[in-house]
Amino acid sequence: MMRNARALGLTALSILIGLALWQWAAWDISRVVFAPPTAVLARLAADIVSGVLPLALLRSLGALALGFLLAVAIAVPLGFAIGRNAKVAAMADPVLNAIYAVPPVAMVPFLIIWFGLFFESRVALVFLMSFFEILVTVAAGARNVEPTLLAVGRSFGAERARLVTRVMLPASLPFVFAALRVGLVRGINAMITAELFFAAVNLGALMKHSAQRFDTAGLLAVIVLLCLVGLAAQSGLKALEARLLPWHVRQ
């Protein structure tokens, strides 16, 4: 308990120091080009109260949810298939490495050709960006499931179905959760990337309008909001993991 309090204090101190440095830098560079934290936080609060930011975020989340769920539904089983079979893994390895080396944003012209500029292409970009992240993480995890666990199950006479549900599945949940966390953060990044690179809508439109008016406070308010959404998504999944897999989460 003491330690927690101390860690919390240091975190608060760290944030305060960071904000102070930012304030000082903003003063130094000029307030027009780089808004100080006080202005950004005031702006964030005002835009949340007025409903502009929450509404835009809510509209953005539709594409995120659909793209992310599609990615999870396809990438998790595929990751297992690749990870649990040495031959398939050897075949998939160079192809996945090659695709992984291409920046997802470079696919934007393609997505425009295939899906246009609106909702469908935003979903597609979210799907693309989280799909490969989830696939790679799940495949690596599935490959490294402790062989002794499976051996113990087998020597106690568990048949295949039981081995999968009682040993494989619990042993896999930790890295599946890790994959979901990474994938969701990438999905959120893809969501805002899509809104800036396709037709500017929702949060992306807010950012573009702010940029046109040289309004860095407005820009930073959206960035801070997105950052908070990303952190919340991450800690939400972590909390869920701690409830579902208490044996895994070690403090």
């Binding site: 240091l10 192809v95 080396a101 920046p103 944003v105 990044n189 990337t193 860095t216 950052c227």
Partner: protein
């Protein structure tokens, strides 16, 4: 080894085959097949603009990426070895790691304009946090027994850092540089496609042409750059730290 290599080649052949069949079925306007893309790629290579733009873009990217490594690696080590540094820096590290590069682009344009410093700065902020995070995880995980042995033999702090900690960290430093490079190249493309300059601009403009062949050819070059850079870093790692592969394995450290 040869067995694995055979399967890898089979995988590549299979992927190319599927690409060819799909490409032929839906046409070059939507998805050009490899038999159309590779001649186009060769033509672009001969014509020279692709490589010129690539060289310019990579040079600017390397500045941002170089600074990210120069600062990120020592700070990551410091965070891994000092609780205070960890406590003070970690909240900001977690925040910046989840921040999308694309969302920073409009802001950075206002601050830096659209020239050299804009692109270098975007690459810098996109890669430094991943470099730092990876080195941090490595530095935190250094086997305490190694350090204890050094202390038992009366090694000074500096000596124990140079002969125990540093070699133990090499694998993670290389992994950090590899992960950082992936993000640096991504950021380069994001920044350039947004303002339509350099290699990213080339990709953007290729997207407007009637055939997808030039676009795919440009993506293929970018893929080669990533794969070759990765192989070089791995090869370098094997020379300076032969214990690299067994320590880090294929996938690198888990993300935190």
């Amino acid at each position: 080894m040869t067995q694995a290599l055979r399967y890898q080649l089979l995988g590549i052949a299979l992927a190319l085959g599927v690409w060819e069949v799909v490409g032929r079925a839906i046409g070059a306007e939507l998805f050009a097949p490899p038999t159309v893309v590779f001649p186009e790629w060769y033509a672009l290579l001969r014509e020279g603009q692709m490589l010129r733009e690539l060289a310019t873009s990579l040079r600017q990217m390397l500045v941002g990426y170089g600074f990210a490594c120069l600062i990120g690696i020592p700070v990551g080590v410091g965070m891994g070895r000092s609780r205070l540094a960890d406590a003070l820096l970690h909240p900001w590290l977690s925040m910046f790691v989840v921040t999308s590069v694309a969302s920073l682009v409009p802001l950075f344009i206002l601050i830096f304009g659209t020239g050299f410093w804009f692109r270098a700065a975007i690459v810098f902020v996109a890669s430094i946090w991943y470099v730092m995070l990876t080195v941090y995880q490595g530095a935190r995980g250094v086997e305490p027994r190694f350090v204890d042995v050094g202390r038992a033999f009366g090694a000074s702090r500096w000596r124990s850092f140079r002969t125990i900690l540093l070699p133990a960290l090499y694998p993670y430093v290389i992994t950090a540089m590899r992960i950082g490079l992936v993000h640096a190249i991504r950021a380069m493309v994001v920044a350039e496609m947004f303002i339509i300059v350099g290699y990213g601009g080339l990709i953007y403009r290729a997207g407007l042409s009637l055939s997808t062949a030039p676009l795919l050819a440009l993506l293929f070059t970018l893929m080669l750059v990533g794969v070759i850079a990765n192989a070089l870093l791995r090869g370098g790692a094997r020379r300076i730290a032969p214990w690299y592969e067994q320590r880090v394995g294929a996938g690198g450290p888990a993300q935190g």
